[in-house]
């Protein structure tokens, strides 16, 4: 009985085929910033995962930096009519 269960578990996990994984990894590779340079060659999955981790870390870092800059700017600027125009341009 346990072998039947483990067999079914194995078959359900193999439903996620290798092709699907390869497809997802290539989609991920397309999202990375240097993808336009290496669009023809397909990189190894490990490299793509490594690049993805680095990219996510750099994006987190950028968000931290931008938050700090915004904190500085919000403290110094006052509300003007220009800001309404800025907001309108961002929302359209």
């Amino acid at each position: 009985m346990s072998t039947r269960r483990s067999r079914s578990r194995r078959s359900s996990s193999s439903r996620i085929t290798d092709d699907q994984i390869i497809d997802l990894v290539s989609k991920l590779q397309a999202l990375l910033p240097e993808s336009h340079r290496r669009s023809t060659e397909r990189e190894s999955a490990a490299k793509v995962l490594q690049d993805t981790c680095n990219y996510i870390r750099s994006l987190h870092q950028e968000m931290d930096d931008l938050s700090e800059r915004l904190a500085e700017l919000l403290a110094t600027t006052e509300t003007t009519s220009d800001q309404a125009a800025i907001i309108r341009s961002l929302l359209m």
Partner: protein
């Protein structure tokens, strides 16, 4: 049909992102009680993640995880709970020195730690969530750069 839906929800809706973020910024601006610069930048950072998660919607594990963390953080600060047991130091990232005795985690495990809510996912779901998360992160960063660029002119 599922594929089509997933493709549609993939591209971040920029006006929605902008709306949530600007609304949060306006609220933060109004509260003059936040004197400390660090407090303000931390609040803006959390507002950025929260607005990003709101724009993404509740269908994604990462957006739900981010909103949970932000709400947890906000409520614990409000009620004066000690913030020692904060969720995984997501908002206060510190560099941890790797213990050489431990086996080096696989790349997928490292990714699972980086993408919120992805701890227990299998590889295919993890890759999908990562792709979605990166798209929204990128859109949010671009939005913030636009805001900074416009305001600093």
């Amino acid at each position: 049909m599922n594929r089509k839906n997933s493709n549609k929800s993939r591209n971040p809706n920029k006006p929605t992102l902008a709306f949530y973020f600007l609304r949060a910024l306006a609220c933060i601006n109004k509260k003059t009680s936040m004197a400390s610069y660090n407090q303000r930048s931390g609040t803006i950072k959390r507002a950025a993640y929260a607005s990003m998660a709101l724009a993404a919607g509740p269908k994604r594990a990462w957006s739900r995880a981010v909103l949970c963390r932000v709400l947890w953080w906000g409520s614990s600060r409000l009620h004066g709970f000690p913030t020692r047991r904060r969720p995984r130091a997501f908002f206060h990232r510190r560099v941890r020195v790797a213990d050489p005795k431990l086996r080096e985690p696989s790349k997928a495990d490292v990714l699972r730690r980086l993408v919120p809510g992805a701890k227990a996912m299998d590889l295919s779901r993890l890759l999908e969530e990562t792709a979605h998360y990166i798209q929204y992160l990128r859109a949010q960063v671009l939005l913030m750069q636009n805001v900074v660029g416009s305001v600093s002119d």
